[in-house]
């Protein structure tokens, strides 16, 4: 797998402002992510976690400030930033096999008329192996369990041979086993030097399993090691009345936000929740 390992990326944002029509969803974010670091992005619903990712991959325009990757603006044909979308953004009924989806990760390196070659198939096979889904290669994505589906998209992202990997809410809608498997994978990717940003509602995982945390709410409230970020002051600033301090403990009410945000409550589920399928190995 080491031949898949690209140069570790230094990612920096300087006074970045991003927004949909008119009102900015994220203001004046300045942060620097060291080579090969793994950062959890946390914050309440609508804090701008997805907005940040969309700006990084060029889906939303950066309206002020700049994003630098390896000291240069990102972009270009073989874009080294890979993005694993939230599961509800994927059409699980689409007629594609696991192999088809992972091969899509190679399309950026292929010209408009070119068909994938032996080298591309080799990379795809390696990524399927890395995620332990090689035997599912010929299955349609709609037939898989939630955890398996997530691995397919992780394999696709790895097939892009990224320098930076963005995971949008990967712990939402998967079971404990799949979460642990993902964290194990992240640890392996750390050895390969891939810089990783993970957005999540899961504050506990962010605090315990990541070396760096960025707390957002329309702007960057705090960024650094978890103990420096998860202070009562910062949490109150981010969550307002949703944060409750009981003794030495913090309780954050993220349930039932009362508006359609990016919460867990409204997951679509046309996927068969398969107990009839092989579980993660």
């Amino acid at each position: 797998m080491s031949s898949l390992a690209p140069a570790a990326a230094h990612l920096s944002l300087e006074n970045v402002t991003v927004g949909y029509d008119g009102r900015p969803a994220l203001r004046d974010v300045t942060m620097s992510v060291p080579h090969g670091a793994q950062v959890a992005i946390v914050g309440p619903n609508g804090a701008g976690k997805s907005t940040l990712f969309k700006a990084l991959v060029g889906l939303l325009p950066v309206r002020a400030g700049r994003v630098l990757l390896h000291g240069r603006p990102p972009g270009g044909q073989a874009d080294p930033i890979a993005y694993v979308p939230q599961r509800e953004e994927i059409d699980w009924g689409f007629p594609v096999t696991v192999h088809d989806v992972v091969m899509m990760g190679r399309y950026g390196r292929l010209g408009w008329f070119k068909r994938p070659g032996a080298a591309d198939r080799e990379v795809v096979a390696r990524c399927l192996d890395e995620l332990g889904i090689a035997e599912l290669e010929r299955r349609a994505i709609g037939e898989l369990s939630g955890g398996q589906q997530q691995r397919v998209f992780l394999a696709r992202a790895l097939a892009q041979e990224p320098h930076v990997l963005l995971l949008d809410e990967p712990f939402t809608g998967v079971d404990v086993n799949a979460r642990e498997a993902l964290l194990t994978l992240l640890a392996r990717l750390r050895d390969q030097g891939i810089t990783i940003l993970v957005s999540t509602h899961d504050m506990e995982t962010a605090a315990e399993r990541f070396e760096l945390v960025a707390l957002l709410n329309g702007r960057l409230i705090a960024y650094g090691p978890p103990p420096e970020v998860f202070t009562p002051e910062h949490l109150t600033e981010a969550f307002g009345g949703q944060a409750l301090f009981v003794g030495g403990m913090v309780v954050i009410d993220q349930c039932c936000p009362g508006h359609v945000g990016d919460g867990e409550a409204h997951r679509h589920s046309h996927e068969p929740h398969g107990h009839d399928h092989a579980g993660p190995r």
Binding site: D21, V57, M104, G108
Partner: protein
């Protein structure tokens, strides 16, 4: 039996009708896979009706009718894009407004020309038996163009349909591809006009592809199965039209619908029976 099969094609107009039906059946069914997967069924319908005023204007100006149809379809496609962009109104609302307006405009223009009544019926319902050698050539050339573009850019169309976000990130211009798909759709509808007519072309864009969706698990396979169903329905419809003396376009669509119903109930994985069995097993 053989005579029964070959008899109808002793006539030259029936041979042309067979060729035209096959081309339209295959073309509509193949491009229909994208219509079904990207939930553009309503859009296909709208484009089909949007052709009417184009045809009427072309007729009044004495220009080529197919060219008029094509221009109108492209204009409506652009109009839908403009109205719905950046949250003005929702896309299906924009489609609904333009679709009704284009249909009304078409009928209005046509009502100014009295002698046009029979031609109007032909445009609405098609007249596969009246296909001329010239029409057949034009149909064939347009079909080859559309299918070639789809095959050459299969990888890109697949990616942009399945995951426009990744397509954008990889520099594959999903907006351009979507517009290209609209143009291909407009060309296909113009091709289908002659054989099945405005009213039924939308059904040929959706029904065979929806049937194939139930039966396959890969896009390429879905396209092939859809094409086979479309071709079969077209030919079977033509026979029905010859022997039972019924309207050919309607027969084609009803045969395709019968195939869909069979697949809906009996498809191995996505069929009603299979899903029932699975639920019971769980």
């Amino acid at each position: 039996m053989i005579a029964w099969l070959t008899d109808p094609f002793a006539f030259e107009f029936m041979q042309r009708a067979l060729m035209a039906s096959l081309i339209v059946g295959v073309l509509c069914s193949v491009i229909g896979t994208f219509v079904v997967l990207r939930a553009m069924a309503f859009l296909g319908d709208a484009l089909a009706h949007a052709i009417l005023p184009g045809v009427a204007v072309a007729y009044l100006l004495g220009a080529n009718l197919l060219l008029g149809a094509l221009v109108a379809a492209v204009l409506v496609a652009v109009g839908i894009g403009l109205f719905s962009r950046r949250g003005g109104v929702k896309e299906d609302t924009a489609i609904g407004i333009l679709f009704a307006a284009a249909l009304a405009l078409g009928v209005l223009l046509m009502s100014t020309v009295r002698s046009y009544a029979t031609d109007l019926t032909h445009i609405l319902f098609g007249n596969v038996l009246g296909v001329s050698a010239g029409d057949l050539w034009l149909t064939g050339v347009l079909a080859v163009i559309v299918l070639t573009v789809l095959i050459l850019f299969f990888k890109e169309f697949q990616l942009a349909s399945f995951d426009p976000v990744l397509a954008h990130m990889l520099g594959k211009r999903p907006e351009t591809l979507r517009f290209a798909m609209l143009i291909l759709l407009a060309l296909t509808i113009v091709v289908g006009l002659q054989t099945v007519g405005v009213v039924l072309v939308a059904a040929m864009l959706v029904t065979p592809a929806a049937t194939a969706y139930l039966l396959t698990r890969r896009l390429a396979a879905m396209m092939v199965v859809s094409a086979v169903i479309g071709a079969f329905s077209s030919v079977a419809g033509l026979y029905a039209s010859y022997y039972l003396d019924v309207a050919s376009g309607a027969a084609v669509v009803l045969i395709a619908t019968a195939a869909f119903l069979l697949a809906y109930v009996f498809a191995p994985r996505r069929g009603l029976v299979a899903r029932r069995a699975l639920r019971r097993a769980v």
